[in-house]
């Protein structure tokens, strides 16, 4: 379990992280979501013991990151932003260094390295110098060092940033595989990633924790949640017909598509369907919206800025 207690970090006069508190249970994939410079990386740097908090602390499975830093670091794996690596070493040398630094020796180290190499399919590049590898391989080497010692907590700062769609897919698959009875914390500014990977999301902006919910919970905050979007020939006419429904609060037309927002009274989707059949209106497409994360994200973070 991770307990962050009022984590705060200042860089001179700048307040980068402002009293962030949360608790995370094993089995959670937690996504830190926020604009650039929001304090996501700084929070991760504090959790992993790189930066001491200015105030507050965090306890990682019983180990305080300030008073028991080494023990806390032992059970964590960390991929820093941009996946920095010792470029002049070969993959094998680098993983060997990580294993030793993690206190693994002999057969134990061999097994840990082999497992990690296998998981990230790095076998073919083991003898290669890291700086000669492609970006995708470099990221996999970074992940390999993070999971090598089978950590209970995995902290990944923008793990898929700058990867192509196939590589992104692969990394996400790996994170999902790793998630079982572990805590995985990832940071991202890609909203789809939160939806695809996380079972909990925190929106952080200007150093403050603004929302802490499941991705579904965040979606429910969207005004698009439960809205119905239609593609019809004559949007104006249909709009006037549908806006009369008690189930509809508001109708918007954008680029020929009609979006009806629910008023909260009754089932909007069914009501629209009935009305369309009554008037024999032909539709090209109809879609029930689950909510739009980008809209939630914008409204939460902009509210803060305003």
């Amino acid at each position: 379990m991770i307990e962050a207690k009022s984590l705060t970090r200042r860089y001179g006069p700048l307040l980068a992280v402002d009293r962030i508190s949360f608790t995370v249970e094993p089995g959670t994939v937690l996504g830190f979501l926020g604009p650039n410079g929001a304090g996501k990386s700084t929070t991760m740097k504090m959790l992993t013991g790189f930066l001491p908090p200015t105030e507050g602390t965090a306890v990682i499975f019983g180990h305080d990151i300030i008073t028991d830093s080494l023990a806390a670091r032992r059970i964590m794996g960390y991929l820093p932003e941009g996946a920095p690596l010792y470029g002049e070493l070969t993959v094998a040398q680098f993983l060997d260094f990580t294993a030793r630094a993690r206190g693994l020796r002999g057969r134990q180290a061999e097994r840990a390295i082999a497992g990690s190499v296998d998981r990230l399919t790095l076998g073919e590049v083991l003898p290669q110098t890291i700086e000669t590898l492609s970006k995708g391989f470099k990221r996999r080497v970074g992940l390999a060092q993070a999971i090598l010692h089978d950590p209970r907590v995995l902290v990944l700062d923008e793990p898929t940033d700058g990867l192509d769609p196939n590589q992104k897919h692969q990394v996400r698959q790996l994170i999902r595989d790793m998630a079982e009875d572990r805590i995985v914390i990832i940071s991202t500014h890609i909203l789809e990633e939160v939806d695809a990977l996380c079972n909990r999301a925190m929106i952080i902006a200007s150093g403050r924790l603004l929302a802490d919910d499941t991705p579904q919970g965040l979606l429910r905050r969207s005004r698009y949640n439960g809205a119905v979007t239609l593609a019809v020939d004559d949007a104006q006419v249909v709009a006037s017909k549908l806006s009369e429904l008690p189930e509809a609060a508001e109708v918007e037309i954008r680029r020929g598509r009609l979006t009806v927002f629910p008023s909260g009274r009754g089932n909007l989707f069914d009501a629209i369907n009935r009305r369309l059949t009554e008037h024999q209106i032909r539709i090209d497409e109809i879609q029930l919206e689950g909510g739009r994360l980008d809209e939630v994200f914008r409204s939460i973070t902009m509210e803060e800025a305003a």
């Binding site: 860089y11 740097k45 992993t48 013991g49 790189f50 930066l51 080494l70 023990a71 670091r73 032992r74 964590m76 960390y78 820093p80 932003e81 941009g82 920095p84 690596l85 010792y86 470029g87 002049e88 070493l89 070969t90 040398q93 260094f97 990580t98 030793r100 630094a101 993690r102 206190g103 110098t129 060092q145």
Partner: protein, 249 residues
């Protein structure tokens, strides 16, 4: 020394040395060091002309050799880690910052030691030509290595100040130069008007040159070695503090 402490030191030390030899840095450094050492000894030192079987002309120029070559090794120690962000990797491993500071220093110091050992042909030469006092030569080698450690500790600490290796190099050369010459009027004169004589003497006593001159003549005084050991210790502690302050930026 706990087993874990030495284990962590060994791990970081091995990685550092692997990096030296994975790049041309190691080979270029050793080659230049050997060529320069030989050139100084034979041309400026007048090794043959003196017709004395000792290595004084060899050791006499070591401070000047180190003045540029040791900062060249030390400049990358922390500046490179900060530039590439690997410092975040290193300092989130279950290794303390103190262990990392010591291990990185030791790796570079051992490496310079290796370059020093590789000057052995000159020792063979002098033994073939005459009958030198090998005890004196050994003492001078040890003294020279300790002085290199002093230069290195200064360079390592200043390297933690910046992520730019060129800046780290220039800062290190300047500070090493001040330490080298602190006994000479060039350094003392600006202080003469504001500081009392005992403090001026203290500054003069900080000079590497003063402490090394007796060592190079083979007079190994424990106080001179202790002096260099203290310089190393002081700058490594400073390195640890600078690292803590600067790693956030």
């Amino acid at each position: 020394m706990s087993q874990q402490f030495s284990g962590n030191l060994g791990t970081v030390l091995r990685r550092e040395l692997a990096s030296y030899f994975a790049t041309p840095v190691a080979y270029v450094f050793i080659l230049i060091f050997l060529i320069m050492a030989a050139a100084f000894t034979f041309y400026l030192g007048g090794f043959f002309e003196r017709e004395i079987a000792d290595l004084e002309p060899f050791f006499r120029f070591h401070p000047w050799l180190y003045l540029f070559l040791v900062p060249a090794i030390g400049m990358r120690l922390w500046a490179e880690e900060r530039k590439y962000g690997t410092i975040e990797l290193l300092l989130t491993l279950p290794i303390t910052a103190t262990e990392a500071v010591i291990a990185k220093f030791l790796a570079a110091w051992l490496f310079i030691g290796l370059a020093l050992v590789l000057t052995f042909p000159i020792w063979i030469t002098v033994n073939m030509l005459g009958d030198p006092d090998n005890g004196v030569i050994l003492a001078a080698y040890i003294g020279s290595w300790f002085m290199a450690g002093g230069f290195l500790a200064i360079s390592a600490c200043l390297s933690a100040l910046t992520r730019n290796q060129v800046v780290a190099f220039i800062l290190a050369v300047v500070v090493c130069f001040l330490f080298l010459l602190s006994g000479l009027p060039m350094v003392l004169d600006p202080f003469r008007a504001i500081l009392p004589q005992p403090m001026l003497d203290a500054i003069a006593n900080l000079s590497f040159l003063v402490h090394f001159s007796s060592i190079s003549r083979g007079v190994i005084d424990l106080r001179d070695v202790l002096y260099f050991a203290l310089v190393i210790g002081f700058w490594l502690i400073a390195n640890r503090i600078v690292l803590e302050i600067k790693k956030a930026s």
